[in-house]
């Protein structure tokens, strides 16, 4: 049934593209301050909000036994008062610059992110330097942050996506590995944290010699050497041996774990395992293959689950680096994530497995591979328009012990990756019998249909 009566416009053939203007991922200038701080800088004309990322070599593995969450509390406490200012004064000064300052702790290390209009960069970097070199860690502020963190935990557990992520980590990794446990600690471990523990962690792991600052934005008229010298240059500290990095192991025996949420109208899916990090040669092919599987709503998963069946608002497949080191001991999480309505949970999983099996049988097509390359490579200038996006990627590269031109070379590698390589990479990444499936949903409704699929042993845990 078409409505041709309404169509009176003149149609033209689809236009052909013009000549592409060259674009390259920006190359940073690398240097160091006398205090040992590594600095990467990158001038991006027109980007008036400057982004600064600081990597601190304080990985979660370094948290003392039983004090999971101390890195998080320390990260938050950095901006809660210094040798010169109270917590309230510090927050006020920062906002007077129109700046935002965030800090968070993750497996590879701690990241502090500053964004500020270029005209106030000097002052904001002064505050950042103060937070890094002379945090007060007052008892009252640390106690408050601990109580606040304890109050946040129930909110995170109530969120189906976060609850699923927590369960998947617990399932995949041995309990001895820090990765098996929540990044920001549990109620039990957070409750043990005090200002002495925070200060001890700071003194053991925060120093300019093992830190890197990335500064990106429109630096016109800014003498960055002077500004850095007067701010982060005043931070002092000793040298430190690199921390040992334990190897990552995981049990990806195919199985299903249902986290019971009676009455839930949807089931949150998180299906995953671990795989290689970005130091492995297969990474570009894996990026390409994973995009074809579930990178967007025209990828294989959504083509069926969303656009044909309407079971979901969207399901995505992705690879996320957990920790990456030059010696090859790193790992990434490979996963498929999304939510489907409760009554269709069984049929949706059945279709998802069919998509994986069909892919294993027939592989990707050349057309799929071409579109994926065109998208992944073509969107780069859009994706890295802002200073924050460039700074974030440069800081990730540092954190993952990758060369500064990694991202630029990745685009060249993607363009050279063929259909066969992309197919074998995605099949190796998502083998149908080596996936741990976490479902956060109403067990009374979904357990039987999921059991009937035969995708692995099914267990139910209470929420």
């Amino acid at each position: 049934m078409s409505d041709t009566a309404a169509v009176t416009m003149t149609f033209h053939p689809q236009p052909q593209p013009g000549q592409a203007r060259p674009w390259a991922f920006p190359a940073p200038e690398r240097g160091a301050l006398p205090n040992g701080l590594t600095v990467l800088r990158c001038h991006r004309p027109g980007q008036q909000v400057v982004a600064v990322e600081v990597n601190l070599a304080a990985p979660l593995d370094a948290e003392p036994e039983g004090l999971d969450g101390v890195a998080t509390i320390m990260a938050r406490a950095l901006s809660e008062g210094t040798d010169k200012r109270s917590a309230e004064e510090f927050a006020a000064e920062l906002e007077r610059c129109g700046a935002t300052l965030d800090a968070h702790a993750d497996h590879p290390g701690l990241r502090v992110s500053l964004e500020v209009p270029a005209s106030r960069l000097h002052k904001a970097l002064g505050l950042l330097a103060e937070a890094l070199r002379a945090p007060a860690f007052a008892d009252s502020e640390v106690d408050r942050l601990v109580r606040n963190r304890l109050d946040e935990i129930p909110h995170e557990l109530a969120n189906p996506q976060r609850r699923a992520a927590k369960e998947l980590s617990r399932q995949l990794f041995p309990p001895t590995l820090r990765m098996s446990r929540p990044r920001q600690g549990t109620e039990e471990t957070v409750a043990r944290i005090d200002s002495a523990a925070v200060r001890a962690f700071y003194e053991a792991h925060v120093r300019p010699a093992t830190a890197t600052a990335v500064v990106v934005g429109d630096l016109t008229g800014i003498d960055l050497d002077d500004v850095l010298g007067e701010t982060l240059g005043a931070w002092t500290g000793d040298c430190a041996e690199p921390l040992p990095v334990p190897p990552v192991t995981a049990d990806d025996t195919g199985r299903v774990v249902i986290v019971d949420r009676p009455g839930a109208v949807q089931t949150q899916l998180l299906i995953g395992r671990i795989g290689p990090d970005r130091h492995e040669r297969v990474w570009p092919a894996q990026v390409l293959g994973t995009y074809c599987l579930g990178g967007t709503l025209t990828s294989r998963l959504d083509k069926v689950l969303r656009e044909e069946k309407g079971y979901t608002y969207g399901v995505r497949a992705f690879g996320q680096v957990l920790r990456s080191t030059a010696d090859g001991k790193g790992a990434s999480m490979l996963a498929i994530s999304g939510s489907v309505d409760t009554p269709n949970t069984g049929p949706a999983l059945d279709d998802l497995w069919k998509v994986l099996r069909t892919l294993a049988e027939g592989g990707l097509t050349d057309a799929e591979r071409d579109v994926a390359v065109q998208n992944l490579v073509g969107v780069a200038p859009l994706k890295f328009e802002t200073a924050a996006a460039v700074a974030g990627t440069l800081a990730d590269q540092v954190e993952q012990e990758l060369p500064d031109d990694y991202q630029a070379r990745l685009y060249a590698q993607l363009a050279q990756t063929g259909t066969v390589e992309a197919t074998s990479a995605v099949l190796a990444a998502f083998p149908v019998d080596r996936l741990v499936t976490v479902l956060v949903g109403d067990a009374a409704q979904i357990e039987e249909p999921v059991r009937a699929l035969g995708i692995g042993e099914v267990t139910v845990v209470t929420n």
Binding site: Q14, P15, L150, Y311, Q374, E385
Partner: protein, 449 residues
Amino acid sequence: MGHTATAQAGSGGLTATEHRLANGLRVVLSEDHLTPVAAVCLWYDVGSRHEVKGRTGLAHLFEHLMFQGSASVPGNGHFELVQGAGGSLNGTTSFERTNYFETMPTHQLELALWLEADRMGSLLAALDEESMENQRDVVKNERRQRYDNVPYGTAFEKLTALAYPEGHPYHHTPIGSMADLDAASLEDARAFFRTYYAPNNAVLSVVGDIDPEQTLAWVEKYFGTIPGHDGKQPPRDGTLPEIMGGQLREEIVEEVPARALMAAYRLPHDGTRECDAADVALTVLGGGESSRLHNRLVRRDQTAVAAGFGMLRLAGAPSLGWLDVKTSSGVEVPAIEAAVDEELARFAAEGPTAEEMERAQAQLEREWLDRLSTVAGRADELCRYAVLFGDPQLALTAVGRVLDITAEEVQAVAAARLRPDNRAVLVYEPLPAEAGENGESDENEGAEQ
């Protein structure tokens, strides 16, 4: 220019030219050659406020149908072609408008214009029962995922329904109700398109690495023959008294992790000085970690996990000031409410300090610079001012207007509007706990390449 971060008071050197095709399509162009990308943004002057009783959610459901093909573009072609060209795209629906946008590498700009024109002129040639049924299910799952299956997920819907009376065009939110989504028919969708999707009910902006003459020629070529029409009825009047005149209140007992106090204050319409003053007031009171409510509730009293104000700017109805406080363990809502009222009353009596004004305006300025840092952000702002206020040039001076607000104006709007008899209140009370939970926490996930 004491506390202004940029020479141009935040316009970022943005300029724009305006054009109008014979069929009524308004076009706004803005050049910037720093990066080889171009943003296309198309705002249709239709949103959930145009929906009628029994058909809530239709504008948004219709937005999904706009991605299901048109005369020259089969199936998912709108997505496939843009993504295959190295572009990104999406659409969103709000109370007051529906927007569609593509960001393209410069040399693919013409493709995006061709695609937008094709669906503006010929969507009904491709729209069928199959895509209607499929997208109805997708949207119902969007509703479940974003609202129904998340703690406090329906708070926005509930507060909006309290803040705007039954029958008011803003009484319901763009996602609509499940029953109305079920009731929408293919004929409803067709009628919606015929009524609202016309070149003279839209503004197209193109921003970035463009040749304005060439761009305008393409716009004329692809959009110029789409007939305009005047099928659209004006939306129902959204005018309301300045003050609610009493406190509306609802208590919800459901499975949430903590008690919460949320409220919506009735504020001046967007586009007025008073609205900008209200924005500054809410920023001083509840925007960020040096705000009065954060300092009082999170730092000093330690009765809240998080406390803040947000603002929903609206042009066709009063705007809303959005209070959201999640309580700390064991704290009761009346204690929070008393503290909030005390802070608001003190603020109304004393006004902001000079330093608070400086902080709030610096934050609002940075937020504006952030929006302008991408071509897509700029294209969206130009469309916004063109559609809602008839003049895209207002986007260039918007931050200047916020920086021009005085402490007296902030105090005046706070005294007039941030009062207990001018708010709708939503209180969340958790269901009694059945068993102790062992608390653990946060994982994040994302994609990278």
